[in-house]
Every structure is written in C-alpha cells, then in structure tokens.
Symmetry: C3
Subunit: 317 residues, 3 copies
Amino acid sequence: MRHDHLITSKQLSREDIETVLDRAAEIDADPSAVADRHANTLLGLLFFEPSTRTKMSFETAMKRLGGDVVDMGSVESSSVKKGETLADTVRVIEGYADALVLRHPKQGAATMASEYVDVPLLNAGDGAGHHPTQTLLDLYTIRENAGLDDLTVGIMGDLKYGRTVHSLAHALTNFDVRQHFVSPESLQLPREVVYDLHQADDGAGIREHDSLEEVLPSLDVLYVTRIQRERFPDEQEYQKVAGEYQIGPEDLEAASDDLTIMHPLPRVDEIAPAIDETDHAAYFDQAHNGVPVRMALLDLFLSDDGAGGALGGDGDE
Amino acid sequence: MRHDHLITSKQLSREDIETVLDRAAEIDADPSAVADRHANTLLGLLFFEPSTRTKMSFETAMKRLGGDVVDMGSVESSSVKKGETLADTVRVIEGYADALVLRHPKQGAATMASEYVDVPLLNAGDGAGHHPTQTLLDLYTIRENAGLDDLTVGIMGDLKYGRTVHSLAHALTNFDVRQHFVSPESLQLPREVVYDLHQADDGAGIREHDSLEEVLPSLDVLYVTRIQRERFPDEQEYQKVAGEYQIGPEDLEAASDDLTIMHPLPRVDEIAPAIDETDHAAYFDQAHNGVPVRMALLDLFLSDDGAGGALGGDGDE
Amino acid sequence: MRHDHLITSKQLSREDIETVLDRAAEIDADPSAVADRHANTLLGLLFFEPSTRTKMSFETAMKRLGGDVVDMGSVESSSVKKGETLADTVRVIEGYADALVLRHPKQGAATMASEYVDVPLLNAGDGAGHHPTQTLLDLYTIRENAGLDDLTVGIMGDLKYGRTVHSLAHALTNFDVRQHFVSPESLQLPREVVYDLHQADDGAGIREHDSLEEVLPSLDVLYVTRIQRERFPDEQEYQKVAGEYQIGPEDLEAASDDLTIMHPLPRVDEIAPAIDETDHAAYFDQAHNGVPVRMALLDLFLSDDGAGGALGGDGDE
C-alpha cells in the first residue's frame, strides 16, 4: 500500500526505510540533480512549538528541491490565539500548500490533523508521541558511519522522556542490531517501551545498564541524549546524575577506534568539545543529514505517482 | 482611471470588481499558466498586527506567481520600537520590494502610507477601516457558489464592530442583491453604516432583524461572523447572546438546499462542525479563495501596463 | 590574499572597498543581469538581536540574486534557549546554507563564530564591535553623491556609542577626506577611537567640534546619527542636548547647495521631515543602497573563484 501521511516511523517497513535512506544517499551524492525538481511547490510549516533545526532543515530541504515554504509563524501571532481548533487551522492552510509539516505539543495531534487534509502531512514531532523524520536521519547517519548490519549500538542519557530514543530504538528492531540502554535508574526506558521493543525484536537484542563502562568497548555507535535539568526536583541531584553521563576524551580510551558518537543536539555538556575534533564525532553531520533525508521524504511524498507512492509495502496503515 | 494603490473596496467600480474576479477565476482554472509570471518580483509584507490567513495567503499568492516576499517581521523585532514613523518605515521598505502589503491597527494608516510610496500598496486591514482583499475574496466565493445577480444574502453575528461585514455589505450594493442583517440589538450595524448603505443602494435592499428564523428560508447565502467575547462586560451575557446566533444542523431544516454558508474564519463555535461535511459549507473554500483573488490583484497591480492598470474605469478613485 | 569572511571593514584595503563599490554600482545599473546568478543558493540568517533593515536588505539582496534564505528566527524560539553555544549553533546551520549572516549582541561574536565554519560568514553587527556592511553602504552613498576624493564630511550626534560612526570614520581614512566630528561633550568620540584615527590618517584630517555652525558651510556631506534617550540619566538633559543637534530647513541656509545629508535610520527627530523633500536628503537612498552593496558582497563571497576571492589584496587580513 501507499502512505498518505508520515505520522510515525512505526508505519514504515524495513523496505520503506531503505527506500528513504537510498533516496537520501542519491540526493546527498548529487544534490544538483534535484535542484529544480519541485519548482512551484509550496510546503506549509505549522510549528505550534518552537524548533530551530527541524524547521530550518525542512525549509532548507524544500528549497534545495526548488520549492518554497509558507510559514504559519508562531502561535502567539496566529489565529490559534482566537480559539481556532487544529482541525480548522490545518484545513485552511492546506489550501495554501502542496504538503504540510506539523509540530504540535499534544501527542496524537499529527494523526488527528492528518484526518482532515488531503495533502501529505509530515509529523515533525507531536509532544511525547513521534518524530519520524528525526528517526530516519538518525538511521541514515548510523548507516553512513557504521552500516545497519551486525551492529552494536549504545543509547545513553534520558531514556525515560526522550521520544527520539523510543522511536529510534523501535526502528532499529527492523535491523540486525544489538541495543544497550545506559541511564540512571530514574531515567530508564519506560516499561511499556521495553515491552514494545521485546515484542518487536523477540527481546534478543535489548539490554539495560546503569553505567557506560561495561558496554563501551563493544559499541559501534554511541547515541547520547541530553539529561534535562527540569526533570529533577533538585539542582544538586541533577548535577550528580548529569555528571555521570557525560563523555570526555578520557572516556574514549576504552572505545573502539571506529566508534561513532551521535547526539540529536542541542547538547549542553553531555559531550566535551574536545571530542568535536575527533573522528568519533558524527553529531554535526547528523544534524546536516536532516537535509538530504527530508529532501528524500518530500520528494517521495510529492512525486507524481501519488503521495508517498514510492513508499510501497503491504502494510495496512 | 488607473488605481495606484488598493486602499478600500469602495474605490472599485462594479467593473473593477468584475475584472478582479474574472482574473481570479482564470488563475484558479489554470494556476500553472501564471506559475512564473512574476519571477524576480518581491512583495514587501508589513504586518503591524498579527495575522495568519491574510499574511499566509498573500505570501502564497506571490509565490504561486513565481515571486517571493520580504517580511518586516513582528513589530517587537523592528525599528518601530525605536520610534520610527510609519512614513519612514514604508519609504525604507519600498526600496526592497516591488509592491507592499500593509496591515496596521490604525484606521487611515494605509491611505497615509500610500502617499509616501511609488510602488503599489495593498491594504490588508487598517484597524476599524478597510480590508478590501477580504471583501473581494468574499465576493468571489459568493459568485462561485450562488452568482451575483438576483441574490438574497443574510449577514449574521457581530455587525457592529466587523469591518469585514461593513465592507462586504457596501460592495454588494454594486450588484442586484437583497441584504438581511441579523444580530442582537447590542451588535447591530452602526447607524452611519446603515445610512451609507441606503445612500449607495436607495435603501431598497437593506433589512435588519434580530432573529435568523424569519429570513432563513429566503436566503441564498448566509454569512456568519464571530461574536467576540471581549465585546461583553460579562461572561453570562456573552454566552446568552452567542448561543442564539450559532448555527447547527437542526437550524438548516428550514433552509434552501442550495444555501451557501460562509464565515471569514477563525470561527469559535458559531457554526457546528457537523455542518462542515454538508454541501452548505463554503467557508474553507472561502479561505482558500484568498489565494487566486490575491494572485489576481497582485498580477493586476504588478503588470507592465502600470500599477493596477487593468483596473481601469472613469471614476476618480 | 583572499578573505574567507567579512568581520570588520578594517580588514578591507582601499582596493577591496573599491572592488565592492564598483560591483555594487554595476549591479545597481542593471540588476536584471544578476537576477538568476545565484539561483539554488541559500543564505543562513542568524539574528540574535532584532533588526529590520539589515535583515530585510540582506534577504532582499540574496533574493535579487536568484537565491533564497533560511532564517533561524528569534532567539526566543530557538535552541539557544536550551543552552546551546554559538559555536554549536553556527556549525549546525552551516549545514543548511551556502553562506551565513550573523548579528549578535556580544562584541567578538562574529570572529569567534567564523572560526567554526567553512562557509563565508558576514558580520551584520556584533554589539559594540563592527558592522562592516553598514560602512560599505555608507561609503557607496557618499561616493554616489559626492565622490570620495577631496571631500569634507561632518559626522554629528552620538559619537560615543555609535559603532556605525567609528567604523565609517576609520574607513574614510583610506580616502582623501577631511572629517569634522560634531557632538555634545558628553557624547564625543572615545579617546581610543580618536587615537586610532590619528594612527590611520596621521591625524591630518580629523577635527572635533561642539557645534555644527562653524563647520557647516565647508561640508560636502553631513552624516547625522540618533542621540539615544537611554544614554541620559534625566529626560530634561536629553531634551536639551538632542534639541541642539537637530537639523531643520532653517539650519541649511548656511550650507552648500550640494550638501548631502545622510542618516543610518531609524531617525526620531534628528532631521526635520521638511528636509525629506529637498535634494539634500540622501538617507532613504542610503537605506536602499543596502541592497546593491549587499548583493555585491554576497556575489563576491559566493563566486566560484573562492570565498571573497575577488576581494584580493596583499594584506594579511
């Protein structure tokens, strides 16, 4: 079947994911080949929450394909203030654009909104819900740096609240990947996410740890996330926990020379700046990969053969 | 004569209006024919007040004609904060753009600003003053759905403060239209507007009512507006009044099957969502019509034969 | 040598300046010749402080060259709020754009940021530091109106805090220009700036005054700046000082018929509106000149022969 909208990475089969990543790699290798491919195309940006890099990289992606954007602007300057429902807002803005990108603070907002529009809608984050384009650019970065077969990945930091992490972990169950989750006990993966991962992967590849030390030597990829100050009732407690899950050059002595370090950014001090200059650091490339991956997605969803047409499969989404 | 600027729909003759609507219909039928017509053209956006749909649809219109926009951004981030006059601001920005769109909270701002610039200036709302592009898209929607001859239109809700309503009512006096105004007594049309309409139309077509019931069966078009909470000193009073001027499916039993329901949006709860799915609902189309109508206006004002050249006539503006 | 970035006008030799101004004049004479010259080029806008005209004219310049922009938006809506460093922000955004424009409240920010990026970075103001594109458009305006040889320039107003003034004064030492500085004693040029100008120009052309009267008749150009209310502890003191350094039509009786009056804008009441209509007034042209000058700079920095390649010279930046 075809996908009309992109709501969650869970809707994508392994084959779908590979279609996106292959297209992104093609585009990355020769962006000029698609520089005018979607001329006269407008992408509507509906960001109900602030975002720098997701919004800018979607905008860049559309413009690198020859198109342009129309931006709703901030909620403060919009009709939302006057009490308009999301269903009404998206139905108005779909009249201006050929596709929509939506970020919204409420989980489920993207699914709901997609039911009201005929143009493709791409979810750019719905609260604690999904953020599939982040997952796809993470997968692309992993594949470019370490491949996606016979791989050992460590995911460290705030595993409790991070939708990025849950979504990536789930997507990785499509591939031959062992996953180690490293966090303080208070920020462990929620039990329902662990259950979900075991369901998806027979539990074979999933392990949880409270220290990086024991798993670092075995890792091909280390994915670090930010531990948010606001999750802790007490500054001292935060400092103690955050300090234990920072990576500095000295920590890397036990790591493989080929270790790839990723981070969805922005970072605060989870990764020491001294690592930026090493071959381990892939986080800026990772941010930049948002462009070819989102170009690939837009191209697939905007192509003449129908919305998301090339994202074939036999699922029932 | 030619129009240099678009300040009010009152400056437009019936012939001018038909020129705009005809051009909009042409563009609507085949937008690709004009997709590069105004390449290398920049439209300056000066919004001194928030706006979602007017701003986005002007931006969309310019981009659908192959051009682009430069946006002053919000007043908070602009030189206005430093005490710059509107006359200075528009004279600076006219150096960047081929035409300007201005929204400003003060009535008369567009007229004043237009005296300082040589490029076409289009009024996108000046406080309690005018909003001519809204009127034109309303007329376009009425014409597409019900024609503009031998027509009965009901206009309901807040008729006291709504510039949209005053402007549309005046424009309709150019056509063979009977107008019924339905509102609570406290939100009736201001007497000077009624006087003005009688002057324009010999009073023949104008009637006021405090209930929809008596006129609904005769209507071809029902134009609903939002009753603003902030107009009422007291929440209870608001609830009582607002409740009486809401439309639900049960209210439509007495209506013609061909009744067209319009609303300038955003709505709060003036029109029940159940009506969205019926053939009566034209309000989303109405919002979308902002694009072809503004494309037509931009095209007419930016064309080589002079600013607003094709909006000929023998009036004296 | 070549310039990788544009941080300060001090890095530019007289030859460099003339290269920019000549290119701007060429573009100004026939903008259509470059209307598609940088198609498919994206300029990243990073404005950590509000700005209307600098930002809009950079955006206009890029679009008039056929390119487009991606805008970080306001700091409030960006990752900066989450504690991201400037070094990280510019490294992420360089992945989206072919060149960057940075405005930042901290002096030295542009230099620091430029060390982290490979694409050209143009400083659009760094606190009390530099604002080289303003200086170049000022020089362009002076050259267009009065030439840059055997010239007498008066600079009046707030000479203490204005980076615009310091930067322009320094750049003028490259040319055969006598400079008269007119200000209240409390807003005189800082001693280190005077020292710096004497170093650059053997002090030959620099004079300071507390009244315009004595120098006005000799001036070819009068550059007026805004005296900021917030510099004064006391409103009465401000009114007294500001009133003395305002220019009205009656002040111009003693001036040359060819006197050119400039102002970086926004003005409050330093220049009476009655002067706008005279041939003396060059300040709106000056604002508009931001476009061809920034087009010239972008063109030089984005051209195939390397970043800022055509800004050759044998200095060492």
